[in-house]
Amino acid sequence: MTSMTPTTSMTMVQALNAGLRRAMEGDPKVLLMGEDIGPLGGVFRVTDGLQKDFGEDRVIDSPLAESGIVGTAVGLAMRGYRPVLEIQFDGFVYPAFDQIVTMVAKHHYRSGGITPMPMVIRIPYGGGIGAVEHHSESPEAYFAHTPGLRVLTPADAAEAYVTIQQAIASDDPVIYFEPKRRYWDRAEVDEVSPISGNPWSSRVLRRGSDVTLVAYGPMVRTCLEAADAAAEDGVECSVIDLRSLSPLDLDPVVADVQGTGRCIVVHEAPVMLGMGAEVAAEVTRRCFFHLEAPVERVGGAYIPYPPNRFEQHYLPDVDRVLDAIDRVTAV
């Protein structure tokens, strides 16, 4: 970031759009399919202008049927295409769950390695935008619990630009969760340098000696803000963005917790069997003699996503994270 490479300020929506465009330019086998992704450009405009430039054969407005979208994409992938699908909202991925779990996830395995299943399923996810029911869910644990899938989620626009291209380049199927409440956040995006780096790893965004904050997607910014606030109170936090939920790279977390002795995992999804459970179980196993306090989990209650006038209370925010920091440092 201190180099001379020119960068552009972009929202995450623009970064995804640019990343998709570049992937389509680079490989004629890449094609997009989903509801309303053509002339409308998707309800969030992530695919804005792409049908105009790449044609209806490569940017396909589908009938209204999620299983159909994913199932036909399986056939396209068998034929050598690299479909990139849009599920309009998190709450509408379930009609496609069978195709994802029984076909997309397993096909390379069940074919004995003969038929790869390069496919990206983009899902805007999470709450915080005052939406109606089924438009604010965080179903990532279902997918990360499913062997055969990769699960990726960018925390900011720069990440989104790079990792959407890496997801498309992968020969494995990737569930790509886009934190919709961060869609309009800006970052400096480097469109010039070749895409590099390993997306299947965690990123240390900040180092602090007292507490390790672990998050992904929408909660990364929340944790960074909480770390700023904590620092004012003299508590220094590390912030680690998991980025990839499958594979799950806990090495940087373990290394950090061996220093801090305290760890907090933050996500929007229900705590019960959420990503935090896995992080807590595994970090505890690997840092058992370093932990000063049990790994703390901050996340959604065990209730369906509530009507949006409740969401400010339902969603973890800076105060909830600070509260957890108080708890772990009090032990």
């Binding site: 309303d36 409308l40 049927a65 109606v132 029911e133 209650a301 009507p307």
Partner: protein, 354 residues
């Protein structure tokens, strides 16, 4: 596109009886339908305005589809049951849903739009197509109860592509369930034209399940009433499922978040505006002398009062108690919910205390 349809009222407002769908068109009925359309349209307009001023998070305009909805809803008996989508204000209205109750959902204070026991209408789901199956299951329950009731199951043209709507037709046929499917083919599923969902008229789908179907002019409130009533009667009498495709048009945006200029022509809009269901009814009432100025004024006043009541009820409506979000997750106590609620109560107490 609207030529091969059943129509009882021509665009010019002329009534043409149909032997299969007899209907007695009294001035009272006409006035009832007129009033329902006016009030529905008023709620629609007010809700859009409330969304624009930030009082509601979202609204799904119904403009253009009131004819089929109000006609079909009047075909139901009070004891019948309905399942709908979000865009069926005309049906909500006729079944007695208070729009304030409904707007709670768009305000974001509640997922539940009304008490289904009172209005005989399942609360709707936004998950497209999924309630078609609930309709059939409910109808199978009616059958098992030996009750003299039937179900009206409404969904859009887009929904017909979903697996659930198909499975609903399969089950309805297999069990001869007393359910009438009503597709409002409003030409669009957000930005996707109906031609992407099907290349044959949607009404032709039904035959493949052994279900009879009728294609109607969806901007003709009398056709909707007449045809739906005959088919609901048939279902109640053990005749089994039926299917109606109502050809109509969504003249507003998909929702208040939508920008239809990105995907459709003004000309299309003009064409359908000329087929407006209210204008058509009005023309007919004028022909038969059922639209006296006093009545018109009375309904307008009622609409004004409704608008004012809505604005007052919604504007600045208080947010709910945060702990309310833990209510009703389960019918019986559940350890995790109880614990999470207690933790949230403690946390809120700390925050307030600090």
């Amino acid at each position: 596109m609207t030529e091969d349809v059943i129509r009882l009222l021509t665009p010019e407002g002329e009534f043409r009886a149909h032997p299969d769908y007899p209907i007695e068109v009294s001035p009272d009925l006409l006035r009832q339908l007129y009033r329902d359309i006016i009030l529905t349209r008023r709620t629609d307009i007010e809700s859009t305005a409330l969304q624009r001023t930030g009082e509601l998070g979202l609204w799904c305009p119904v403009l253009g589809q009131e004819g089929v909805q109000i006609g079909a809803a009047h075909a139901m008996r009070p004891s019948d049951y309905g399942f709908t989508t979000y865009r069926e204000l005309g049906i909500f209205h006729v079944r007695g849903v208070d729009p304030v109750e409904l707007l709670h959902l768009y305000r974001g204070t509640s997922h539940a739009s009304w008490d289904p026991r009172r209005v005989g209408l399942g609360i709707f789901t936004i998950v497209i197509g999924s309630h078609a199956l609930h309709s059939v299951g409910y109808a199978m329950g009616i059958q098992r109860d030996g009750a003299d009731e039937a179900v009206l199951s409404c969904f859009g043209d887009g929904a017909t592509s979903t697996g659930d709507v198909h499975e609903a037709m399969v089950f309805a046929a297999a069990f001869n369930a007393p359910v009438v499917f009503l597709v409002q083919n409003n030409q669009w599923a957000i930005s996707v034209p109906v031609t992407r969902q099907t290349r044959a008229p949607l009404a032709t789908r039904a035959a493949g399940y052994g279900i009879p179907s009728v294609r109607i002019d969806g901007n003709d409130v009398l056709a909707a009433l007449g045809v739906t009533r005959v088919l609901l009667d048939r279902a109640r009498e053990g005749g089994g499922p039926a299917f109606i495709e109502a050809v109509t048009y969504r003249r507003g945006p998909h929702t208040t978040s939508d920008d239809p200029t990105r995907y459709r022509d003004e000309a299309e809009l003009d064409h359908w505006a000329s087929l407006d269901p209210l204008d058509r009814l009005r023309r007919h009432m004028e022909r038969v002398g059922a639209l006296d100025p006093a009545f018109v004024a009375e309904v307008d006043a009622e609409a004004d009062a409704l608008g004012e009541r809505l604005r007052e009820a919604i504007r600045g409506m208080a947010d709910p108690d945060p702990l309310g979000m833990f209510d009703h997750v389960y019918a019986e106590p559940h350890r995790q919910v109880t614990a999470d609620r207690a933790a949230m109560a403690d946390y809120l107490a700390t925050v307030e205390g600090s």
